[in-house]
């Protein structure tokens, strides 16, 4: 460890000052276009997604294999993984600036939410509300119509991670989770619990690669002596310690940090149970594939409504936490602990990709307080987390019983000591 005290308040030197003309020219110049990754699936267009073998449009995901299956000829195929297709796993340590894939671009408030398609099979006009679905049946000829082009309303992401757990497996995990928590569950919840009401939902996330440097400053203490003094009947331990000014810097890259892309899902205030859905992360995002709306047939989806700028503070917060975890092992000599007082994060470069990730979601609204409880299953890894409404009278009774027993034991000890 080198002796390298750093003054956090000192600004970094970034070259000689510019002349007034240069400053004005820089202020008036057009903003530099941000680098981007083009992720539009060129092999598809809005309208009919046909089976490459027989031409049928009855195509959907087969969860047990993670592949698209044609319901007419049983042909199975899948889209390419975006990791290799767009080079998302490479060059994180050389990232510069903010690179945003086309499916994660800013949402335009004037972008259409409702699209009208002309069915290529029969010519009928079919309406799709992209806020809730990206597929629709032509009501005349029964063909399935799909939204495949990236509209600037956040509905079509760069990539999708298909469901792997079947509905039955999702129900089984939800049932097992709830059955372990029956004794103190709210009576009405137990009565109304129907795990078969589970919904398969694709939730929107921003998946981020980033290169960053974090720095921390604070105080650390090392114990130099410990002794005991007698005060009357009591023995009191005293300590002596050296106080140090401590600084740490660490450079690191993160690969596929996953952050909520929906403002509703990103609200972790105490009246919500969105932390439950957050807790089933991470997903195996390396296996995400290029967008194809056929993956969503039979599932619901939630539209992304957060832009990169809105999520950037969350990214910085998480990078600061990751940096703190990385420097923690270097603090071993401070046996009385370290109190960090200042911190700084410099994000050298970041790459943003929007993805739909698969969740089996059971929701229950508790009538007594209006709270929405979730039991969520990660439809890739099977990780399950949930919030079960509790019966307050039962809980208080249990607490009172344990308290009474302990108090009885304490009383018995006191009597024995007397």
């Amino acid at each position: 460890m080198t002796q390298d005290p750093v003054d956090p308040q000192r600004p970094a030197f970034d070259g000689p000052p510019l002349s007034l003309e240069e400053e004005l020219a820089a202020a008036n110049a057009d903003p530099e276009p941000q680098p981007s990754i083009e992720t539009v699936n060129e092999s598809l267009k809005d309208g009919l997604n046909r089976c490459p073998k027989c031409g049928s449009t009855d195509v959907r995901l087969r969860a047990s294999t993670g592949m698209l299956v044609c319901l007419f000829c049983r042909n199975e195929w899948q889209e390419a993984r975006v990791e290799e297709e767009f080079g998302l796993g490479e060059g994180i340590d050389q990232l510069e600036g903010t690179v945003i894939a086309t499916g994660a671009q800013d949402i335009r408030p004037d972008a259409d939410q409702v699209l009208t398609f002309k069915c290529e099979a029969c010519g009928a006009e079919v309406v799709v509300d992209t806020a809730h679905a990206l597929n629709a049946r032509c009501h005349w000829c029964r063909h399935t119509l799909n939204v495949n082009q990236q509209i600037p309303n956040g509905a079509v992401p760069d990539a999708v991670l298909p469901f792997r757990l079947t509905r039955e497996e999702g129900i089984e995990r939800i049932r097992a989770f709830a059955s372990k928590r029956r004794l103190f569950a709210h009576a009405r919840f137990k009565r109304e619990f129907v795990p078969e009401n589970v919904l398969g939902v694709y939730l929107p996330y921003l998946v981020i690669d980033a290169r960053a440097q974090a720095a921390y400053w604070g105080k650390g203490e090392v114990e130099t002596r410990r002794w005991t003094e007698k005060h009357g009947d009591n023995r009191v331990t005293y300590y002596a310690a050296d106080v140090y000014q401590v600084s740490r810097q660490v450079s690191f890259t993160v690969d596929d940090l996953t952050v909520e892309g929906s403002s509703e899902r990103a609200d972790f205030s105490s009246g919500k149970t969105n932390n439950i859905v957050n807790a089933i992360l991470p997903f195996d995002t390396k296996n995400a594939v290029k967008w194809n709306a056929s993956y969503l047939v039979g599932f619901t989806s939630e539209k992304r409504d957060l832009d990169v700028a809105a999520v950037t503070p969350v990214l910085e917060d998480q990078l600061l936490s990751i940096g703190r975890a990385q420097v923690h092992p270097s603090l071993g000599r401070f046996d009385r602990g370290v109190r960090w007082e200042q911190e700084r994060i410099d994000v050298g470069g970041s790459r943003w990709v929007s993805m739909y990730l698969p969740v089996w979601l059971y929701s229950y609204r508790q009538e007594s307080n209006g709270m929405l409880h979730y039991i969520a299953v990660n439809a890739r890894t099977g990780e399950t987390m949930g919030s079960i409404p509790v019966s307050q009278p039962k809980l208080l009774l249990a607490a009172f019983t344990v308290g009474t027993v302990l108090e009885g034991i304490a009383g018995a000890i006191l009597v024995a000591m007397a």
């Binding site: 460890m1 005290p5 994180i92 009591n234 106080v243 807790a279 949930g386 009172f400 006191l414």
Partner: protein, 112 residues
């Protein structure tokens, strides 16, 4: 209630009660007036701990994605320094005030 259910719950409650009792043990050892007061507090403390443990087991309000651990991170060795600036000759505190070395998500003053 299945046997597994009962076992999970008993484990959670026992852990909470043991935690409460362990905190009371030093006071008990002193056997002073303070110790008697602490011993009498065992009942309320155990009750609160039971409530808290069961509530947490059912509602999972403390759970979230452990991104510090579950993300692919490639880090260089940490750099930095330490300089002795003071000496505490006598204190009853066994550790530093406001130790946040392992509270990774607790934000401190941000330097821009």
């Amino acid at each position: 209630m299945s046997p597994a259910t009962g076992l999970d719950l008993i484990t959670a409650v026992t852990t909470a009660v043991i935690t409460a009792v362990v905190h009371l043990t030093p006071a008990l050892a002193q056997a002073s007036d303070d110790g008697i007061l602490w011993l009498l507090a065992a009942g309320p403390a155990g009750g609160v701990a039971t409530y808290w443990a069961i509530h947490r087991y059912y509602r999972n309000t403390d759970k979230s994605h452990a991104y510090e651990r579950d993300t692919l991170i490639d880090a260089q060795p940490p750099q930095g320094g330490e300089e002795r600036i003071d000496h505490i000759a006598r204190t009853r505190d066994s550790d530093i005030d406001g130790d946040n070395a392992d509270k990774y998500r607790q934000r401190v003053q941000r330097v821009r």
